[in-house]
Amino acid sequence: MHCSGSFSHLHTGSLEVCGRKHNICMVSDFFYPNMGGVESHIYQLSQCLIEKGHKVVIVTHAYGRRKGVRYLTNGLKVYYLPLQVMYNQSTATTCFHSLPLLRCVFTRERITVVHAHSSFSAMAHDALFHAKTMGLNTVFTDHSLFGFADVSSVLTNKLLTVSLCDTNHIVCVSYTSKENTVLRAALNPEIVSVIPNAVDPTDFTPDPSQRQEDRITIVVISRLVYRKGIDLLGGIIPELCLKHPDLHFLIGGEGPKRLVLEEVREKYQLHDRVRLLGALEHKDVRGVLVQGHIFLNTSLTEAFCMAIVEGASCGLQVYDRVAGEEVLPLDRRLRRLRAHCGPVAGSIFAFVAVLDFLFLLLLQWLVPDQVMDVAVDATGPHGLWRQETSSKKETHSKSATSS
């Protein structure tokens, strides 16, 4: 990751956003330095959109000492907002406490489209809710599959129904995921698109000579967390090893559930047959993959296996379609909430929507929009950032922008 410091040199006062197609704000709890499929998807998608000439900013919560505003490659701006993390890197959802900061971001960056990622992220749902209150267009990308039976799924699905019933467009990463999302959130399938993740075939070429022919190797590459089904993996390893004496496991990845695998390995004396590689660099993944015969993925919620794909999708068509849609006024929004989400949940969330609207009015009275400075546009190959950096270096060889 090319992370430069967040110091900006300003020369010109021209702050107008001109010639841009959209100002997009990606919101998710999950972003670098946290590692995973969603994170790299957001990063790659943002880079693609910047190349298309849009302006993109990313909003996530603070990770440890990483707070404030940072810049990544091509002037991609990342806001690490100091919101309280509750569970599994997901922020607490109270519907309201994130509004002041999110409103500030949306206003100062002149956001036109809010793109939320991952249904596990409470911040994404909050942002969708607030964006609708502020009258912005919204897109949601779902990265996970859910069940319908257990309590947590029922609750998450209800939340999803409420937050997606307002959303202009939804993107899923596979057709299974689309079916799942449409059922869970009771959506009109027409507003759900599928943009599957793509593999760069030049990066992942087969190489059978790397395999060892006297044994069968199963490769598992995933983060070792509960959601990825590591307990399940720990359960099947001894059984499979008992049945097939020539079976070997190669497990790449790091996480809290590593202990489970280590215990299993200890208990059944499988040290020579189960190898734990620990955290893998992105470039080393192919080297591990070609050593195996079978790729095993035990994930409980995976919609599209990102372990072997380079997520580089381009959502341009989606955004164009979104731009034409109208944003509902409050009363019609409330009616739709109540009609769509059932009498009880619908009424509750309609009430919450009204409160959110009143809170927004209060904030607009306390800190009017015109008091907020418009953020300097640094994004993209033609953005202020690169020009200013180079001209700065020409005039006097001093640069605070290079990392």
């Binding site: 900006s8 040199h9 300003l10 020369h11 006062g13 404030g68 900061l101 009017p368 005039t395 605070a400």
Partner: protein, 180 residues
């Protein structure tokens, strides 16, 4: 040189005064708004109403006397430690930067940063309370490590001017810094 109207991040009017002593020595003074009499009245009244309410139930006159003391001491502490009347930044090329802030009571604090420690002056973004704001800051370097930023000194911390004011100060500062 007070030609433009500047405001701080809360929308209150502030004034920027640029004085050019010579080609390599400039002074910028940001004066914030004075304490409004309305605000003093609101705070005094609320303390007094509260103390009268307590007095009504307890019938202890010590409550009233303590309300007087609290109001007076609070006002004194406020103008002596909190309320900054104006902040100034004196940039002297090849010598250094002097940052001073004058409190409403007349107290003045001054710090001087020598040029060998200064890496640059930049405008940065920060999350402040429930807002995201721009601020001007001096980047310090360790003389032993000239390429790394060792720490950051924010300028105009109490007046918090908005971006247009900061850009103006920034440009003048860079003119001087680029000469030496």
């Amino acid at each position: 040189m007070e030609d433009e109207a500047f405001t701080d991040i809360n929308g209150k009017a502030i004034s920027l005064d640029c004085q050019s002593h010579s080609s390599f020595c400039r002074e910028f003074t940001v004066s914030s708004s004075k304490v409004s009499i309305g605000k003093v009245m609101v705070y005094t009244c609320s303390v007094w109403l509260l103390s009268y309410a307590v007095f009504f139930f307890t019938e202890n006159t010590a409550v009233l006397s303590s309300a007087i003391v609290i109001t007076l001491v609070g006002m004194m502490l406020h103008i002596h430690f909190v309320k900054v009347d104006h902040e100034s930044l004196l940039v002297i090329g090849s010598l250094g930067i002097q940052v001073s802030s004058n409190y409403a009571s007349g107290r003045e604090t001054t710090t001087f940063i020598e040029m060998s420690k200064i890496k640059d002056i930049v405008i940065n973004e920060a999350i402040y309370m429930h807002q995201i704001i721009y601020y001007l800051c001096v980047l310090l370097k360790d003389p032993s490590e000239p390429n790394a930023v060792s720490s950051v000194v924010p300028l105009f911390q109490s007046s918090k001017p908005r971006l247009n004011c900061l850009v103006k100060v920034y440009k003048s500062c860079q003119e001087i810094l680029s000469k030496c």
